[in-house]
């Protein structure tokens, strides 16, 4: 794992960095080693902890544990300005310069050359011109920033960060809004800086660019470091594998997906323009259909369309052979559909309501407000699910937002199980929850399948999908590209289906 050849002392060495948010562990004992003169890629799916790590390094967040060493001395950046002074400069995807000022003013803002209490404008422009020439830019620094393209603004931002800091440069998705030529312009600048001995942390979602410009990479998943590698020694396939994970491989052996029953739900050509291409799928009782794909491939969109969160503009849904209209979640619930959403906090929990009310919510909504569920019955339902799912709480009266991520997820599962659904859609059911709850939720999915429920599970955890799915549908670029069944379902096959063109 640490097969780094150079014996130099790292410029920046962060060790044991941990950051907790209420209910989740955003960073767990993370290490980042940045060697002199290297471009170091920081990789991981969204939510893996990349930006949290950057924010801890630059002092935007207070970390909860860990040490940051810069040039061998421990530093404690208290703010981004502070970290800049120490030598760590950061450039974000959204250029955070002042568009109404000139290029030179942006470059020197806060440290303008002065003469007699006034800004020495001429000298400032001349110095700016000289600095920018070093970056290969022949532009007029007296022009306003907005006279130039985003790529040039990006370079100006880099120049400003480097001139002010000079040791470490962090580039947070700088290429996200650039076209191919502009990316090359930026990479030219990065190579020059690298030659000057600057160390650069590079964050992007584009693997091609990672392999193009970076020397080494650190891969994060679920707030942990999965690996550190020299990019010349690995393939894109390896990197994708590490990003998506294959730690539960042992479970694959124990795959037992049972026998599926009658077809319950058939989706025909369901789609919505601009959101997801029309797709068809059918799900039988006692079957788990897995949805695999990288971030943004259309997993969540598929789930939302079937549940009516966003009404489809074409296609139809059949339930037991009868066409049904699902234009909003209420319709879906009425047909005994259920959806545990991906973003628990935004779409799932009702934070200030008690755990009890959260568990009863969907059932009560289906019954209508006129027919309140008797309190004794509510208590019985809530208590039985707290026991069955082992939800850890101090009291059913406590607001659900105080529970940990895993317990919140279990309470949401309880909310939907209480409605006794025929068809359960789970979107990222194990994201951001602790290991124990993780295993319990997987066990629950298997249990529900064995009980004859139809499930559609979207997950970025491939081993999980392999473990419990009867079939796996692979999505790429908001289209279904492959359906795997039976023995075809292996992490490698899924990764190949995802990566074939994605990485090429």
């Amino acid at each position: 794992m640490t097969n780094i050849s150079t014996s130099d002392r790292p410029v920046l060495h962060a060790r044991g960095i941990s950051k907790f948010f209420p209910g989740t562990i955003a960073l767990d004992d993370v290490e980042l080693r940045l060697m002199p003169g290297e471009v170091h890629a920081l990789l991981g799916e969204n939510g893996a902890g990349k930006s949290t790590l950057i924010k801890c390094l630059t002092g935007a967040y207070r970390r909860d544990a860990g040490v940051i060493m810069l040039d061998g001395t421990e530093v404690e950046p208290a703010s981004t300005a502070d970290s800049q002074r120490l030598g760590i400069g950061t450039v974000y995807q959204e250029v955070n310069l002042l568009p109404n000022l000139t290029v030179a003013e942006n470059l020197f803002l806060g440290r303008q050359p002065m003469r007699g209490g006034f800004i020495a404008r001429k000298r400032m422009n001349a110095e700016a011109r000289a600095v920018l020439q070093d970056y290969g830019l022949e532009i007029d620094p007296a022009e306003p920033l907005t006279a130039y393209s985003v790529a040039i603004q990006q370079v100006i931002a880099i120049a400003r960060a480097v001139e002010m800091s000079g040791k470490v440069l962090i580039l947070d998705e700088p290429t996200a809004s650039l076209d191919h030529d502009e990316v090359q312009l930026l990479f030219g600048v990065i190579r020059k800086l690298k030659k000057r001995g600057l160390s650069i942390v590079f964050i992007t979602h584009f693997l091609d660019q990672v392999f193009d410009i970076s020397d080494r990479a650190t891969i994060l998943r679920n707030g942990r470091v999965i690996g550190e590698c020299v990019l010349a020694e690995v393939t894109q396939h390896d990197v994708v594998t590490m990003m998506l994970g294959r730690q539960l491989e042992a479970r694959v052996k124990a795959r037992d997906v049972g026998v599926a029953g009658k077809t319950l739900v058939e989706v025909e050509d369901l789609g919505k323009r601009g959101m997801i291409a029309p797709f068809s799928l059918d799900i039988r009782e006692g079957e788990v259909v897995g949805l695999a794909g990288l971030l943004g491939s259309g997993r969540t969109e598929t789930a939302n369309l079937i549940f009516g969160v966003v009404p489809a503009d074409q296609g139809k849904i059949m339930l037991r052979g009868q066409e049904i209209g699902v234009t909003n979640p209420r319709d879906a619930v009425a047909h005994r559909f259920a959806l545990c959403p991906e973003d628990r906090k935004v779409d799932g929990i009702v934070g200030d309501l008690s755990v009890r009310d959260n568990i009863i919510l969907a059932l009560q909504a289906r019954q209508g407000w006129m027919r309140p569920i008797p309190r004794a019955k509510v208590q019985e339902i809530a208590e039985s699910y707290v026991r069955a799912l082992d939800i850890r709480l101090a009291s059913l009266d406590m607001p659900i937002r105080l529970l940990s991520g895993g317990n919140q997820q279990k309470a949401l599962l309880a909310r939907w199980l209480a409605t006794n659904p025929d068809f359960l859609i789970l979107d990222e059911p194990t994201r951001g929850i602790d290991v124990g709850a993780h295993a319990e939720i997987i066990a629950l999915i298997e249990q529900l399948r064995a009980d004859g429920m139809a499930l559609l599970v979207a997950s970025s955890e491939l081993e999980e999908l392999v473990a419990y799915s009867t079939r796996v549908i692979v999505l790429r670029d908001r289209k279904q590209v492959r359906e795997l069944a039976g023995d075809e379902i292996t992490p490698d096959n899924i990764i190949n289906a995802i990566a074939t063109e994605e990485v090429a």
Partner: protein, 353 residues
């Protein structure tokens, strides 16, 4: 049938404790400036005393804050209630002046208030206009509508039935007191004995989640604005009946702010979510007690607003989260509360897997 046999509900008394304490202090201030404050006698066939005045004069704000509490629980706000009062008063007055009975007038006023509420609900729930903007429309236009009804003058009437609603008594107690007590009880019962209360809180806390859980948030939103409009209409009728005339220019003027203040003093968050109508009603009484202190103190009227502002500032400071934390810390250093039975009874892991 629905006996709450299992599980202790978080005590209502504990929830309204701060408001009770503040009300007690406000009443004590009244006694300080006027020692006979609590003296009540029976005069001219009606209960007569300062405490009765507080309850009676607090009626409009109390009625408004019932609806306002529900609206605010959904993360909304209803700025139009003062104007709706003016409309309802004008409609009631115009109806009896036209020779109809007081019952017809009351129904007409409620109909007008209900329509105003539906209009607000339509703007908020269907057109998705921000509540503060949506209700501002009627706040501005409503008084104009009321003036059209009264033709710009105070529309005086002498219908005994209608006047009774504002100035009359039932068994010696002023009618407005009975009306707001009854409506407060009715609505509290209505939202807590059905699932309405919980569903309203749910959409106020997280409307997306609630919608995904199958709650019909649109209908609920329209409902709360409707209730608010009806409460305002009732308040408007009472105010008009009290002075035997509909004063379109002044009826309910700025009362929307008092109603919002009552809800806030009641400890309800303007960001929506958990609500207590009882606490809001106590908030309304607190405001009226402060008004009473000012009137009884005999200080020149130039001090009115300053005194009111200082007292309310004091209340809000005491209720602020930081002070709340401080009080909590003081309490926590005392004897520890017993843990919930559920924790101790934690069962073994069950056969889920």
């Amino acid at each position: 049938m629905t006996q709450p046999t299992v599980g202790p509900r978080p005590s209502v008394f504990k929830r309204i404790m701060p408001q009770l304490v503040i009300l007690a202090v406000a009443l004590a201030l009244n006694v300080a400036v006027f020692p006979e404050f609590f003296h009540i006698d029976f005069r001219n066939g009606r209960l007569f005393g300062n405490l009765i005045d507080v309850l009676n004069r607090g009626a409009p704000v109390a009625l408004l804050c019932i609806g306002m509490t529900l609206v605010i629980a959904t993360k909304g706000i209803d700025l139009s209630v003062g104007a709706v009062m003016a409309i309802a008063g004008a409609v009631a007055a115009a109806t009896v002046v036209d020779g109809h009975s007081w019952g017809t007038a009351l129904l007409a006023a409620l109909l007008a208030g209900g329509l105003c509420g539906l209009w607000n609900g339509f703007l908020v729930a269907v057109l998705r206009i921000q509540p503060i903007v949506a209700t501002l429309v009627l706040m501005v236009a409503g008084r104009g509508i009321a003036q059209l009804v009264t033709e710009g003058k105070i529309l005086t009437f002498d219908n005994a039935g209608l006047i009774n609603l504002g100035a009359g008594t039932i068994a010696g107690a002023p009618t407005p007191i009975l009306i707001w007590l009854a409506l407060g009880a009715l609505v509290t019962f209505g939202v807590r004995r059905t699932a309405l209360g919980m569903l309203i809180e749910a959409i106020g806390i997280n409307e997306r989640s609630s919608r995904l859980a199958g709650i019909n948030s649109r209908v609920l939103l329209v409902c709360v604005y409707l209730v608010s409009g009806l409460c305002a209409a009732l308040a408007g009728v009472i105010v008009a009946a009290d002075i035997k005339g509909a004063d379109a220019n002044n009826a309910g003027l700025w009362l929307e702010l008092d109603a919002i203040l009552a809800v806030v003093i009641g400890g309800n968050s303007l960001l929506g979510g958990r609500f207590s109508i009882v606490a809001s009603l106590l908030g309304a009484l607190i405001i009226q007690s402060i008004n009473s202190v000012i009137l009884l103190s005999g200080l020149p009227p130039e001090f009115n607003l300053v005194i009111k502002a200082l007292l309310i500032l004091g209340i809000l400071v005491i209720q602020s989260p930081r002070i709340g934390n401080y009080i909590y810390m003081l309490r926590a250093s005392g004897p520890q509360p017993q843990p919930d039975p559920l924790v101790r009874q934690r069962p073994e892991k069950e056969a889920a897997q």
